[in-house]
């Protein structure tokens, strides 16, 4: 009985450590609310670490072109993300049109995009570290390195 308890404790501890590790890069939040009569509501809250991990499973030939186009801009992207991470929380872009509002902010360690129009509201929040890891993955992908 004691042995069983120890095994259960071990499994629970490992699971807890795994969850902690997976969530260590923060969470990606996507919230889409349609404003039509038959409104759909999509809400996704996923560990940000899954994003770069997921990129490993995308065939490199699908990313080849994106990688080629991204690569020359990587120093710029790295510099921008480094500065963004180090900077204080702020509104980066705020666009208001009749019936539409787009807001891009830096909040904590995340970039948050909020779009509100007559049909729906969209909220996307992604940790900067996860964005950087994912972009690095895409840029690194090429037939030469993955095939």
């Amino acid at each position: 009985m004691i042995l069983l308890g120890k095994v259960a404790l071990g499994i629970a501890g490992t699971a807890l450590a795994g969850v902690g590790l997976i969530c260590s890069e923060g969470m990606i939040e996507v919230n889409v609310v349609e404003k039509q009569p038959e409104a759909h509501h999509v809400y996704v809250l996923a560990p940000a670490m899954l994003m770069p991990i997921g990129m490993h499973f995308v065939p490199s030939r699908k990313l080849g072109r994106a990688a080629m186009e991204l690569r020359p801009w990587m120093p710029t992207i790295r510099a921008a993300l480094d500065q963004l991470r180090a900077g204080e929380d702020m509104t980066l872009v705020d666009v208001r049109e009749t019936g539409q509002h787009v807001l891009v902010t830096k909040d904590g360690g995340s970039v948050v995009v909020d779009v509100t129009d007559e049909d729906e509201t969209v909220h996307v929040s992604a940790p900067i570290r996860a964005i950087e890891s994912t972009i690095e993955q895409v840029a690194a992908a090429s037939p030469d390195t993955h095939q």
């Binding site: 020359p72 120093p75 710029t76 790295r78 510099a79 921008a80 480094d82 500065q83 963004l84 900077g87 204080e88 929380d89 702020m90 509104t91 980066l92 872009v93 705020d94 666009v95 208001r96 049109e97 009749t98």
Partner: protein, 195 residues
């Protein structure tokens, strides 16, 4: 022995207090706060507005990494034709040493143009008198203009140096453009939000 221990304790507490004070003082005299470039475009006729806020440190870090078109390592290459044979450096030298004054005043039927130097700023004012005429005001600190032309090559502008110079300049409205419906404003301050 006890006295020695007490003295040692008091010394430790004093040392800790002093180090805390030093850290606090260092934090207080930390580098100046971040400066931001703001761009605000309002179109009253369409009810549209665009606000962009960019930390200058980010701009300064990004610019040298961009190598595309005429922009390389924070420098912009300009064709000789863009200067129309004018020796801009000599012109700037003359401008720098000259006292505050109005250098160019053009008054035409449909347009007024004024170029002046005032309080260390280069000021350009253009007024278009047509029906939907625009009013353009540009105020650039001379230090920024100097930094812009601080490159070795004659056909290059050092944009990265200009951004750094802009970081050291005080709060300033750099550009305002006003026409019948649109209002554009570009300015620098230490607030991360537009207003």
């Amino acid at each position: 022995m006890q006295k020695a221990m007490r003295a040692f304790g008091v010394c430790c507490v004093l040392a800790l207090t002093m180090s805390n004070l030093a850290v606090t003082a260092l934090a207080a005299t930390a580098p100046a706060t971040e400066r931001y470039l703001h761009v605000k475009v309002d179109d009253a006729s369409k009810g549209e507005s665009v606000n962009v806020n960019l930390p200058l440190s980010m701009a300064a870090a990004i610019l040298p990494t961009v190598n595309k078109g005429s922009l390389h390592n924070g420098h912009v290459t300009i064709g000789e034709a863009d200067f129309n044979g004018v020796d801009v450096r000599a012109l700037l030298d003359a401008l720098r040493t000259a006292p505050d004054n109005e250098f160019v005043t053009v008054k035409q039927k449909d347009q007024d143009v004024r170029v002046a130097k005032s309080n260390g700023n280069l000021i350009v004012h253009v007024l278009d008198k047509s029906k939907d005429g625009q009013k353009v005001d540009v105020t650039i600190p001379m230090k920024v203009v100097d930094a812009l032309f601080s490159t070795v090559k004659d056909n290059e502008l050092d944009v990265a140096a200009a951004i750094r110079a802009l970081s050291d300049a005080g709060d300033a409205v750099l550009v305002t453009v006003q026409d019948a419906t649109e209002h554009v404003r570009i300015w620098i301050d230490s607030h991360s939000a537009s207003e």
